[in-house]
Structure formats: C-alpha cells, structure tokens
Subunit: 280 residues, 2 copies
DNA sequence: GTCCATCTGTGCGAATTCTCACAACGAGAT
DNA sequence: ATCTCGTTGTGAGAATTCGCACAGATGGAC
C-alpha cells in the first residue's frame, strides 16, 4: 500500500472535496483524484462514490478513513519533532495572531527580530480563524483567551483595554443620546468587547457591522459613529478621539500559545521571547 | 512532508540496513537511499550517518523514528480493515503454518478449498519463524502454542502426539541401549518434544541435529537412528516404524490464530472453517 | 436569464522516479 | 589465500507521475 495514496485519500475524507483536499496538500486536484483511484485499485476496494459534482465516501471508505486518521496526527507529530530538533536558529517559523495585533504590535517590530537572528524567516498569519497548532499550521500563536486544546502550552503575556472612539468632529457635534455605533457582526456577539459595546449602545442604532477591526476604525474615522477599539489602536491615531464612559472598562488578555512538542526548540524560544518584549 | 519518504525512513530505522528495508518494502535499495535523502532534504535535518558499510541513525533520526513508528502500525491496521471489508469470497489470503503441518495436513487438501471457493487465491507460508499477524504477514496462522500477542484471537483446533520412529531394519538389528537419535538443533531445546526426546535418549548419542523435521524423517528412514516425529507423519510412512516407549506421550496443541480485526471477514471465516475440518 | 464561483474530468508534454546492471568493499567461511 | 554473501554507491534508460490548460456541469447571486 502506497502511503502517499493513503495520505491523499485521508485528506479527501477530511476535506470533503477533491479541490479542498488538493489545496490542503498543495497539489493539483487531478493528482488527488488519481491517487485515490490508485489506492482503490491497489486495495481492490471501492472507497468513494463518484457523483457528478462530488466525491462521496462509501461505508468502507468511511471506516478506512476513520482507522487511518491517526496517521495524519502522527505525521504532524513528526513535523513538530523535526522543528523541535533543529538546534540552530534559522529557517522558517510561522506565527498566527489576530489581525489587529499582528499589524500593530508584531509586524512593525519584526525588523528587529531579523536583526537579532539573520537566519530566520518569519511567516506571519493575521487571521481571525485560529490556526491549529496541532496541525502545525503555525508554530506560535497569539490568542485572546486561554486555549483549551490538549497539548498546548499558553502563557499570559499581555492585556489591553478597549475604549470607544469616534472622529473628533463627530464627538463635538453629536450629543450622546444620538450616538450611532459600529460593531462586529453577530458571529462575534459572544466576545466581551462586543457585549460591552452592545450594553452601552442599548437602544441606540448600530449603523455598521463588520468583521474587520480595521474597517471599524476606518468607519469611525469618517464620522459615522463610535467603535469599540483597542486603545493601542485608537490612541495612536490622530483622526480618532476617545470618548470615555463610566463603569468597568473591558479588556482582553493576550496569550502566547505554543505546542508542547515545540516548547524547547531554540528558535521557538527565541521568537517567543521576542514577542513578549513586543507586548511588554 | 512526503509520507512515502517517511515510510522508507521508518523501514530503514526498523530494519537497520538499506537492503533489508528495501526487501521489506519490495523496492530497490537505491530507492530507499534516495527517499531517505529526500526526506532529510525536505526537513533540513540530518537523520542518518552514512558510514562506509552501513547507515546509522543520528540522535535526531532515532527520535523521529520513534515518534513516527505508530504510523506503520496504523498503516497495518488499515490493511487489516481493508481485508475485513471485503465482502465476497475472493482474492488472496495468506496462511502461515509450521512446515510439517503445512505440507502434510493443509497443502494436500487445498484443492478442496479451491473447489468450494473458486475465486480464492491461497498463499501458504510454511515457515518456522512465526509470521506476524499484526503486520499482516499472514491472515491466518497455525501455531503450536497459544500466542500471547495482544489483538490476536486463538482457538485450539487440534492436538497431535509424537512418537519415536526409525527404519524397520534399524529397529530389528539395534538393541535399545545402542540407539542413536536424531534431534532438533539446540535452538529448539525448549520445545516439549525435544525435551521428551532428550530425556529418553539420556546418555545415548545424538548423531544428527537438524532444524527441519523433514530432514529428521529422511535421516530416520535411512537407518541412522530414531527421531521424534508427529504420528501423522510417521504412521503414514511405510519406511518408518514406531518404537513405543513407556511413560506419558508428548504432544502439541494446534492453535488457529487470527487477528481480531479480521475475525469477521467472510473469506477469513471460510478459510478458518476449512482448516478446522483439515485437522478434525 | 446571465454571470460567477466551484467542482470534477480529459489529454498532453515535461519532469521526476524507479529499476537495472555494474562496481567497490568488507566480513566470515572454507 | 580465496570465495561467497551482503552491503552501499553510480550511471543510464525506461516507466511513471505530475501539473497545466481546457471543458463540462451545477448552484447561487443579481
């Protein structure tokens, strides 16, 4: 049995479509189709039903995929072990962080990291979707809450508060009872800063909902209303002015997360230390 | 990371040499060498030291091999699951058995099995070395004692006794105090039939030691001395005559062994049932 | 309806990979 | 000493595999 064939089949089983599996494996979708067909031939067992617009696993295929799935996990464990084995500081390291943190607090300071360790190549992923450290989509991650996945080690390395910001002109001309607001869309309704904003807004209007914090800031700058922004974003922007309100301010913790297997890797330690200084 | 590269590296780590790994994987040794080199290149990590006459794992290589080893086990589990998934009775099935059992009790009757299930292809391995059912070197195995490996299911399906045999002429002309004996070599000193023979021989001479029971039988036929042979071998041979001695006879049980994962596979059940009738 | 995005299937040329044959070398047996 | 067996290394040709470009088809948005 060809292991690569099996790898492609497992990717197909996991992702659901040839194309998604192909993206996942960084190959052409045709290759996935061919390898799955080759696996079926070598096992003399039908694993998928080829429907006009989709591949569907047969019962046998589902069973095989379930049994073979641990191979994927082990393969990732091997990759982590490899990364951990690398003694020198050099090569590529991937950092995942919420976009705003990545843009404002990390990216501008990366030049210093390059200066400290010239051999290093940094890949910074600013994504809302939390990258999986288990699957080695990233070596290090910044998160706003303590992760619960097993195998991950998290350290609280920072804290930041939110405040309401609007354009100076808007704040000067608009009475508080007429404030309009900019918020995340409803998928973020559980986030503390969103609840905080909603409670303060009460019955006043939400004029814009967007998932992107930069968009919220941009909207607030134009004078459309008030947005809840991290202070590290709002204070640095001359086109935004803080509007203080009473009560307990809301804030989020910043956690630095690393997989247990990579904890001791020199490069990971170096970069983790650097990120801590960024947030100090 | 290429899974096939990893597979080749794991085989090398397990087998110790390029050539042995190549045999194990049914490829050329050059292929193993290249794939291991490719793996090292893609991981940027040295896994083996290339010495003039051997490959030796580096510390990193040992660690990686240990971590990746479960992949091999899972791959075998997949193969077993595939075999178990095959609904019809057809295709190849591998049976492992001690050579004498294979030759005398199984092989002559296989024609009947073919008759019952024309689609079946049988691979009968008569080896002293017990094939690993876990690694799917065989689907079914006959053993002379209950196996202890986890995951295996064993049923006692037979019992046979040993007796001493020599050529009729030898037994007629030789007084018991002058008997000479044919035995297994010392690697079999723990086997019940060997201990039984040795105790009876006491100080009398062992003139031939051979691992192969057929050789023992052939030697006994020529009149060199007495050999401890299964009755199913000795009684059927007109050139051999039993020499009864007092005391408890020695015998061995016959166990039919199958991996838990294959227990319910139709073809395995069919062949297992057939083998039981062979020994009934 | 039309457009657009997404998915799978096909044919072909290019790149890669494998096997084969041969070589060199050392260990152990005779 | 010689022979045989098993090991790794090298080079070349053959076989395989892959990616690309394009096609067809479907569902959703407008």
């Amino acid at each position: 049995m060809d292991w690569t064939d099996l790898q492609h089949f497992l990717a197909l089983a996991r992702e659901g479509t040839l194309s998604a599996a192909a993206r996942n494996l960084n190959v052409d979708h045709v290759t996935v189709a061919r390898r799955v067909a080759a696996l079926e031939a070598s096992l003399s067992l039908k694993l998928v039903d080829r429907r006009p617009r989709s591949y569907e696993l047969t019962e046998d295929g589902k069973r095989i995929a379930k049994i073979g799935d641990p191979m994927t996990e082990t393969a990732f464990a091997v990759e982590r072990a490899v990364q951990a084995s690398k003694s020198g500081i050099g090569g590529e390291i991937t950092i995942s962080a919420p976009p705003s943190l990545a843009n404002v607090l990390i990216a501008p300071k990366l030049i210093r990291l390059r200066h400290l360790h010239p051999g290093i190549r940094i890949k910074l992923i600013g994504e809302k979707r939390t990258a999986s450290l288990n699957r080695r989509e990233a070596d290090l991650a910044l998160r706003l809450s303590r992760p619960t996945e097993p195998g991950l080690i998290a350290r609280k390395i920072g804290y930041f508060e939110f405040a309401l910001y609007g354009s100076p002109d808007y704040l000067k001309t608009t009475p508080p009872h007429a404030f309009a607001f900019v918020a995340y869309d409803s998928s973020m309704d559980d986030a503390p800063q969103q609840r905080w904003l909603m409670r303060f807004a009460a019955s006043r209007e939400i004029v814009l909902r967007t998932n992107d914090l930069e968009n919220q800031a941009a909207a607030a700058r134009t004078g459309i209303g008030l947005a809840a922004l991290p202070k590290f974003l709002g204070e640095a922007d001359p086109q935004l002015q803080r509007h203080d309100i009473g009560g307990r301010p809301v804030g989020r913790e910043v956690w630095l997360v690393v997989h247990r297997d990579l904890r001791r890797a020199p490069m990971v330690r170096a970069v983790a230390g650097f990120i801590e200084t960024c947030l100090a």
